[in-house]
């Protein structure tokens, strides 16, 4: 197991390097630059700025310098758009916010999604099943840029119970609405995957034996059926977790949370090369890490899986 983990981490390093190279190529392929504006700068000023930020050097040199900086000093460079901040500042400001509401969205989505899926599978073809499937399809179809304003309308304007936006250091009132808005579509997917895999497991022979032996339903589910049923859900959960903790630009914009999703999209529009690269690398590293975690969990859940 440990050699497997070590091998996976060893492969991760060249993967990240390839990610850096490809991202650089795509980034420089897009027309425009970070210092273009409606009022173009004079050529001498532009030359000075490019020299200061190293943009006048050949692409391979920029890539090399950047990678060396990242690997040796974890220095992702200055932000081109926010002139007084480095990328490390931008990420360290935005990531904790996104991590907080992303993590809680994950918890909510998993708990409710699993519960809904299991209930629907146990009471298959009953009103509970149809209700659960209906809710999950509805939640999946309703995009979060529709959910967010509806939530604000109901809870802030009509009822006045919760603030309509802001972060305020992460107090729970400010976290609830983003969490609800973000978790609904993931919860729906988890419920549907769980339901179908649970149905499959419940029809297996060993469950029939357990029932014949007279075990109570909750014990059958928790002790015998849950682990095998979780496998397909786990493969969904890895990437889903990463996408939740790297945030959604829609949640960031609607609730003004200040998370990194917004920075990511704005930096693409303003061609802020270093922020784009920084957040891309962050998402890449997290994706690799959590895919590894998911694979390790596979082995824990299913003893037949050996690496």
């Amino acid at each position: 197991m440990y050699s497997y983990i070590f091998r996976r981490l060893a492969v991760a390093v060249p993967t990240i390097l390839i990610l850096i190279v490809l991202s650089f190529m795509l980034m420089f392929a897009a027309p425009g630059g970070p210092f273009n504006s409606d009022r173009p700068l004079s050529p001498t000023v532009m030359a000075n700025i490019e020299a200061r930020y190293g943009l006048d050097q050949p692409y391979w040199k920029q890539m090399w310098d950047y990678t060396v900086n990242v690997v040796t000093r974890f220095d992702f460079g200055p932000s081109f758009q926010y002139r007084d901040r480095t990328v490390n500042d931008v990420i360290s400001q935005g990531f904790p916010v996104t991590l907080t509401y992303g993590f809680w969205s994950f918890v909510v989505a998993v708990i409710f999604g699993l519960a809904l899926g299991i209930m629907a599978a146990i009471r298959h073809n009953s009103w509970l099943d149809y209700l659960a499937v209906g809710i999950s399809i509805g939640a999946q179809v309703l995009p979060n840029f529709v959910m967010a304003p509806i939530l604000v309308l109901v809870f802030t304007l009509w009822l006045g119970w919760l603030p309509g936006g802001g972060w305020n250091g992460g107090q729970w009132e400010y976290v609830i609405l983003p969490v609800v808005a973000l978790s609904t579509s993931y919860m729906a997917s988890i419920a549907r995957i769980m339901r179908s895999s649970m149905l499959e497991v419940m029809n297996a022979g060993f469950i029939r034996t357990a029932r014949a032996k007279g075990l109570p339903m909750y014990r059958i589910i928790m002790r015998h059926a849950l682990k095998p049923a979780l496998l397909p859900v786990l493969s969904y959960l890895g990437p889903a977790f990463v996408s939740m903790i790297t945030g959604s630009v829609i949640i960031d914009v609607y609730f003004s949370t200040g998370g990194i999703g917004q920075f990511f999209v704005n930096s693409a529009f303003s061609r802020d090369y270093s922020v784009i690269m920084g957040i891309t690398i962050l998402v890449g590293v997290l994706t690799i890490l959590f895919n590894l975690v998911v694979d390790v969990l596979y082995a824990w859940i299913d003893p037949k899986i050996r690496y």
């Binding site: 027309p31 425009g32 630059g33 273009n36 009022r39 173009p40 529009f269």
Partner: protein, 250 residues
């Protein structure tokens, strides 16, 4: 707001040959029904523009532009006459122009309206192209367009902030317009005791040569509580001082 909205015309060799003819440009400009755009499409209190410089710029005397005084029917008739003379449009060679703008609902509505007006009045086909902002800046800055939407806001409350952008060699001259008389006027205006008549003359040249097709001058729209009085309304530079404003007690 001290800003003007206009369409840059690509006057270099990469631009369409038809637009190099000043009569075509004048026809296109006259065929735009600015009242419809300002009242129906935008409906924000904007003012139709026949010059580049904003009408409210301090000391600026808007020149007498013939088109500004006509009714739209007269303008349309004059536009058709000019187009025929130039040899394009319904009675001549077919003309098709591409309007480039950065992605925005507002710019799209204006471009659609203008394209329709040109089609109906002059028989000129127009294709609309929109690009994301940075890509658009590259295209416009490298004269990679036929007509491009542009806006310019004054940096200071004097007409030269607008007229300077169409002088030869200006970094903001995306049309690459070059007129020796205009350049001479602006050089003289820099050291003159009374530059205002020179600016009016320069704007007269712009209104005749039309390196840009002016559309409207901006206005800012805001909601003001009835109880607040003495808000500076004709405030082009958007400076207001709280000592001048008062609130009526309930």
């Amino acid at each position: 707001m001290l800003c003007s909205y206009y369409y840059n015309v690509n006057l270099t060799d990469t631009g369409p040959e038809a637009l190099q003819d000043v009569r075509v440009r004048q026809a296109l400009s006259m065929a735009i029904d600015r009242d419809i755009i300002v009242n129906n499409v935008l409906a924000g209190g904007q003012v139709p523009a026949y010059t580049l410089t904003h009408w409210a710029t301090a000391g600026f005397e808007v020149p007498e532009v013939a088109a500004a005084a006509m009714t739209q029917e007269e303008r349309n008739a004059a536009a058709v006459a000019l187009m025929d003379e130039a040899g394009y449009g319904t009675n001549g060679a077919p003309l098709s122009v591409e309007i480039l703008y950065n992605t925005s609902e507002a710019h799209q509505s204006v471009a659609v309206a203008i394209g329709q007006m040109w089609k109906q009045t002059l028989g000129v086909d127009s294709t609309l192209a929109n690009q994301e902002w940075q890509t658009f800046l590259e295209a416009r800055g490298n004269q990679n367009y036929e007509l491009a939407r542009a806006g310019w806001c004054g940096d200071y409350n004097e007409a030269s902030t607008f007229i300077d952008i169409v002088t030869t060699g200006s970094g903001y001259n995306d049309s690459k317009f070059s007129n020796a008389d205009l350049d001479a006027l602006m050089v003289e205006a820099k050291t003159s005791d009374d530059p205002l008549p020179l600016y009016t003359q320069a704007e007269q040249i712009i209104a005749t040569e039309l390196p840009i097709l002016p559309v409207y001058h901006y206005a800012s729209v805001y909601m003001l509580n009835d109880a607040i009085q003495n808000w500076p309304v004709n405030n082009v530079q958007q400076n207001w001082y709280s000592r001048d404003i008062y609130k009526i007690a309930e």
